[in-house]
């Protein structure tokens, strides 16, 4: 489905990704984990055409899509939910949703889909005509997640959906992703809430210092003691608290 070949890239003159390579099969859910600042979000930006890629290739279903614009990526059936808050502040909830389907051809179908996501996240219907900026943090996140589901994507890139969402909604989002996978959609997700995320994923990917460290079946990663210690909240050995190499293990 998606393959990254030895991606190098970063911000301005600074290189963040030092050779990221992996491939995800179709349909599947892959969760990316790694310490803060490992470059997880940067990988997503690289895929979605938002990063200055210095070298390497991004392949989507075998086709080279390196350095294509976000608009083109959407055209290929990829949608992206970035980390943090990403709504259009002064537009209403409904119009924010509608923007999520701005590239859709079939308006009637789009309206139906908007209805469907509103069923899934009832808050959206309740606050349909409120400005997005007025929503609470978690409500905005719901809006964003819902927005990414409108277009019938082939691949969803979703960066830490659990931030700000209440536990029942996190479960709801995970269930939705599972359902989508069963309908043939691939999901690439970053999650710090790694145990829960890996538990529902097919594959896990460990990213560290801008490189892929491990890429395994999710259950194996969950069982790996090194992973448990480093990323799942195990205790850090005192000797590992080096200042320059914060993640040494």
């Amino acid at each position: 489905m998606l393959e990254l070949r030895n991606i190098h890239g970063g911000y301005g003159k600074i290189t963040i990704l030092n050779g990221v390579s992996f491939a995800i099969p179709k349909p599947s859910i892959t969760t990316v984990i790694g310490p803060n600042g490992a470059g997880k979000s940067t990988v997503f930006k690289a895929i979605f055409g938002l990063l200055n890629i210095q070298s390497g290739q991004v392949l989507l279903e075998g086709q080279d899509v390196t350095r294509q614009s976000p608009r083109q990526m959407i055209g290929h059936g990829v949608t992206y939910v970035p980390q943090g808050r990403n709504v259009v502040p002064q537009l209403s909830v409904y119009h924010n949703l509608e923007l999520g389907g701005i590239t859709a051809q079939d308006q009637v179908k789009l309206r139906k889909r908007i209805d469907a996501v509103m069923d899934q996240f009832p808050m959206l219907r309740e606050f349909r005509d409120r400005k997005a900026i007025e929503l609470s943090g978690g409500q905005q996140k719901q809006l964003e997640v819902a927005r990414a589901l409108l277009l019938d994507p082939k691949l969803i890139l979703i960066d830490e959906p659990s931030i700000g969402l209440s536990p029942n909604l996190v479960q709801e989002v995970f269930r939705t992703l599972l359902r989508l996978r069963d309908q043939g959609v691939s999901v690439l997700m970053v999650e710090q809430n790694a145990k829960a995320a890996l538990a529902m994923s097919d594959y896990g990917l460990v990213l560290e210092l801008g490189q892929t460290r491990m890429h395994e079946r999710a259950d194996r990663l969950l069982a790996d003691p090194r992973v448990g210690q480093l990323f799942l909240g195990g205790h850090v050995a005192p000797s590992a608290q080096g200042a320059t190499s914060p993640h040494a293990g």
Binding site: R71, G75, V88, L91, E98, K131
Partner: protein, 292 residues
């Protein structure tokens, strides 16, 4: 009474012109979150394009008008967007504002160098017939200005809020990053904004130059007053520009007639400062929502 009516109605007519220019400010703000300090010059220049068409190319007035309109759209819309807005916009509002100031000088000086410093007469599109309204003389042209401003406010408001393209333009202005990841054609939206702005400026130019006369320095005062009108109206509402423009036109005349001519420029400013301090979002503006 007829004196009051006279200055009031004249103030409305002048205010309608301010409004027309002020709409440009709000539009650019709503669609690109920046302020075009060359807006006054954008209204000054199209009249000169028409004059060039008439006097240098020998076109008839109506053909020259079309010519001027087309050239304005290309120069003030397309070229402005491509050469100035696009490269500078990502680096933030203030830089672009300064660039538009420089552009204002450029347009002004060019008009002067190539067409002369003296004011030129400019033919009117509509007859200046006068009507008597309870003893006050009002020209048909004044009424038309008012009607056209009103019409444009309504049309633009509908366009921005009721059409998908209009909302895409707003999204682009408010959060270009998000607009981009949602697949909005950001560059095209910015282009639309500036094309519409250029068209409005040209229209304003054709409407007011018969009265204001074509002169290189017309933009200075006009741009400034329109800027003030846009702010007073709230900047984030197209209809605010209309209210702000009319208010300033009327206030200025009433001050000059009944209070003080020497400080006629001051009293409206003081009033407006008070308004803004009491209602920081402007008269028609809505608050921008949660900050925390």
């Amino acid at each position: 009474m007829s004196q009051f009516l006279q200055v009031f109605l004249s103030g409305l007519a002048t205010g309608a012109v301010y409004a027309l220019v002020a709409i440009g400010f709000t539009l650019v703000w709503q669609a690109a979150q920046t302020v075009n300090f060359a807006q006054g010059e954008f209204v000054m220049v199209p009249a000169f394009f028409v004059l060039i068409g008439m006097h240098w190319l020998g076109l008839s007035f109506w053909v020259a008008l079309l010519f001027g309109f087309a050239v304005s759209i290309v120069v003030l819309g397309l070229l402005f967007k491509k050469l100035i807005v696009e490269p500078i916009l990502p680096h933030g509002g203030i830089t672009l504002i300064i660039a538009t100031m420089a552009l204002g000088i450029l347009l002004k000086e060019s008009a002067k160098e190539f067409y002369g410093a003296e004011a030129q007469p400019f033919p009117a599109m509509f007859p200046g017939d006068q009507i008597d309204v309870f003893g006050a003389a009002v020209s048909l042209r004044d009424l038309l200005n008012l009607v056209i401003s009103l019409g444009i406010v309504i049309l633009l408001t509908l366009f921005l809020n009721r059409t998908r393209t209009g909302r895409c333009m707003q999204a682009t202005a408010q959060n270009p990053g998000v607009a981009e990841i949602l697949g909005v054609d950001v560059k095209r939206m910015v282009l639309y904004t500036f094309l519409i702005n250029a068209a409005l400026a040209a229209l304003a130019s054709f409407l007011i130059t018969p009265v204001y006369l074509a002169k290189f320095s017309n933009g200075e005062t006009l741009g400034l007053i329109a800027f003030i009108a846009a702010i007073v109206g709230g900047f984030n509402q197209i209809r605010g520009a209309l209210v702000g423009g009319l208010l300033i036109g009327v206030l200025d005349n009433l001050t000059a007639t009944y209070v003080t001519a020497q400080y006629r420029a001051a009293l409206p400013l003081v009033l407006l400062i008070v308004i803004i301090l009491v209602r920081p979002q402007g008269i028609m503006g809505t608050s921008e929502g949660r900050a925390v």
